[in-house]
């Protein structure tokens, strides 16, 4: 059973502001039946069209999705639109006394619906992703849930996420087929500034065998293994033969359904940091 706080349970059992506002000034919709959760948020503004005087919601989803929606409507009432836009998903979670990390995506959904509603009212393109498989800006990273790189980077940055697991808990990305996990790792690296380090370590143009082997080992130790550790995985370097690198996966990676993707990630990193002709092969060792 989920370890929900009393406040989450209370907002789930007695949700505030369920329903719709027929003459709403703004409506924000995120999610879909296929995704497993969806939220429709209605906002009514004062006569000056500045301050939120009423908010209602309809939610399809689990207990924490309903509680997060209830919390959101309570939090934004009385706020100006600019103030409401300052509400973060973390504040929604805090309002409820915290959410299990696996359920943080429910609070993110609340924040998204709010942004979508306000953007729609203001007639600007929402800084949204295609949670509902309707297209928007950015490049789709997670095909299962239709999430773009722009959206993921924003959530990674604002919640200071460091691991793929966290990104999955906050956004669902990578939680289904796992195919986008290498790409999520890159996004984390990009946001947390590891990209700069990468640039400094630009590879020499021509490599001797010895230099190449040394560089491969350094890259595995300093760049690749730490990322695998973050997900409870590991790898071992088995052999280097010219540009062919043989690795064996350990710990979580050993039994992982997406180790093929992990091998590709390792290869991509080595090509980027050592030399473009590196081939990585997974072996049992």
């Amino acid at each position: 059973m989920w370890d929900y706080t009393d406040k989450v349970k209370e907002h789930f059992l007695n949700p505030r502001n369920v329903g719709e506002i027929t003459d709403a000034d703004a409506v924000g919709e995120v999610g879909s039946l296929a995704c497993g959760d969806a939220l429709k948020l209605f906002i009514k503004l004062d006569d000056k069209k500045e301050r939120i005087v009423d908010a209602k919601f309809q939610t399809f989803g689990c207990g924490s999705a309903i509680a997060s929606s209830s919390a959101l409507t309570e939090m934004v009432k009385g706020k100006t639109l600019d103030e409401a836009l300052q509400v973060t998903n973390q504040q929604i979670a805090d309002f409820l006394g915290g959410l299990p990390e696996e359920k943080m995506h429910c609070s993110v959904m609340g924040q998204e619906a709010l942004e979508a509603a306000i953007a729609k009212f203001r007639g600007v393109a929402a800084p949204k992703h295609s949670h509902d498989h309707v297209e928007t800006e950015g490049e789709i990273v997670c095909k299962c849930f239709g999430l773009t790189d722009l959206f993921l980077k924003k959530v990674i940055l604002s919640n200071k996420l460091h691991t793929v697991e966290q990104v999955t808990h906050f956004t669902k990305a990578g939680g289904a087929c796992g195919g986008c996990i290498p790409k999520i790792k890159e996004l984390i690296a990009e946001v947390t500034g590891e990209v700069k380090k990468v640039a400094q370590a630009a590879p020499p143009v021509k490599l001797t065998n010895l230099k190449r082997m040394q560089l491969i080992q350094e890259t595995l130790e300093n760049e690749i293994r730490p990322q695998l550790w973050a997900d409870g995985g590991d790898l071992e370097l088995i052999d280097i033969d010219g540009t062919n690198v043989q690795v064996a996966f350990r710990k979580a990676c050993a039994g992982c359904a997406s180790s093929g993707n992990t091998a590709k990630f390792v290869e991509q990193k080595l090509r980027e940091l050592v030399s473009g002709d590196i081939n990585v092969q997974e072996v049992q060792g």
Partner: protein, 390 residues
């Protein structure tokens, strides 16, 4: 609040008679069955008796019964044994709807170069035996198919499947943890080579399982380092639980008629009444042969976790095929393999009864569930769209 426990496919209450049987084997009769002295010897006799009782329920011989720690261990041991027995064979067959104890093991083996065929099921969760017959070849080491599905209760035609597999020379294993004690089995008249069962699914405690291994079936142990279980499973016996397992099998034998009679009647009534009271439902596996105790019902426009939490407020314990309850983000692999639409898979609830279930408990679910679904549908944007159309 008194619980109304309708989650018996997850685990069951230990029968009082079973508990009384095992009770002396903790503080008083704690001897090691392997010891030479009388104190261990008397425990050995009880373990032998338990083995005989399990064998009787299965229509097997005592020396075909190997005690393990759980159903998962039994499943793992069966598959691992087969691939060690046939090192040259590199093909395994299973189905898409197996329990993870089988499916994860098979998928992990693909990384060691094994070819794994996962048989499909149709919309009612049924197996296609022709697909099985076409898939088995000389390279197949083992076929592992569940007897009955834990989520839907759908029963596979295991005897026919076993015959097909045996004709082609592969080993046949079945995960029967949901079937044993609920439907009659007779290994004497069967082609099954290995069969797994689990204590806590049939009113014995958690932490004990059995692997049936037919006489003459080649077997390599999963745990080594002791002579116990005739060398097929090393490690000091979990004596109290093994004795409980024996008693549970004896009691299950006595109650077998009740499962197919009273329990089935209660399940059928629950299904009938809920379907009549709640519009837009479907019964997962409703068109297939099913266990008498299991009902998997899908309710559109709502999500399973909310239903379970609201049922729980009323003391009703059930489980769900929804993603949100499991920590995974996709609905149950069983429902997806059956092609159950996402809209239904997210709102699927499983009620699993036992011989301890009462008519009053079924009445309570029939009373409490419809208003819960109505309330959640009114809260759901999709439910409101549908209500508006009415």
């Amino acid at each position: 609040m008194k619980e109304i426990y309708l989650d018996n496919n997850a685990t069951t209450k230990v029968d009082e008679r079973v508990f009384e049987e095992m009770r002396p084997y903790f503080c008083e009769l704690y001897g090691n069955p392997s010891s030479m002295h009388f104190f261990g010897g008397q425990v050995q006799k009880k373990v032998d008796e338990a083995r005989g009782r399990v064998a009787a329920l299965l229509g097997a011989a005592s020396d075909e019964i190997v005690f393990t720690a759980c159903g998962t261990e039994s499943d793992n041991a069966a598959i691992r044994s087969a691939i060690e027995v046939f090192p040259e064979k590199r093909h395994i067959i299973t189905s898409r709807v197996e329990h993870p104890a089988v499916l994860t093991q098979c998928r992990n083996l693909t990384k060691r170069g094994y070819r794994v065929t996962e048989l499909n099921v149709d919309g009612e969760g049924r197996l296609n035996l022709k697909e099985l017959a076409d898939a088995v070849d000389g390279d197949t080491a083992i076929v592992s198919l569940m007897y009955a599905n834990n989520e839907t209760g759908v029963v596979f035609p295991i005897e026919e499947a076993a015959r097909i597999v045996k004709e082609k020379g592969a080993l046949f294993h079945t995960d029967a943890v949901q079937a044993v004690g609920k439907i009659p089995l007779d290994m004497a008249a069967s082609s099954i080579d290995m069969l797994s069962l689990s204590g806590h699914k049939l009113h014995a405690p958690k932490g004990v399982g059995v692997l049936y291994v037919r006489r003459g079936t080649p077997f390599r142990p999963f745990l080594v380092g002791g002579h116990q279980e005739r060398g097929r499973r090393a490690g000091t016996e979990n004596t109290a639980s093994i004795i409980a397992m024996g008693k549970a099998c004896e009691v299950a034998h006595l109650h077998m008629g009740e499962e197919s009679g009273r329990v089935r009647d209660m399940r059928d009534r629950l299904e009938r009444e809920l379907t009549a009271l709640i519009p837009h439902t479907r019964i997962n596996g409703g068109g297939a042969e099913r266990l008498p105790n299991t009902l998997s019902i899908a309710m559109e426009f709502v999500e399973g976790e909310g239903i379970l939490l609201l049922l729980s407020e009323k003391g009703i314990c059930a489980s769900s095929g929804s993603a949100c309850t499991s920590g995974s983000l996709e609905p149950s692999h069983v429902l997806r393999a059956m092609g159950v639409p996402f809209t239904c898979a997210h709102g699927s609830i499983r009620f699993s009864l036992s011989r301890f279930t009462t008519d009053a408990e079924i009445d309570a679910v029939i009373r409490e569930l419809p208003p819960i679904i109505k309330r959640l549908r009114e809260m759901s944007p999709f439910g409101r769209e549908y209500l508006a159309k009415q």
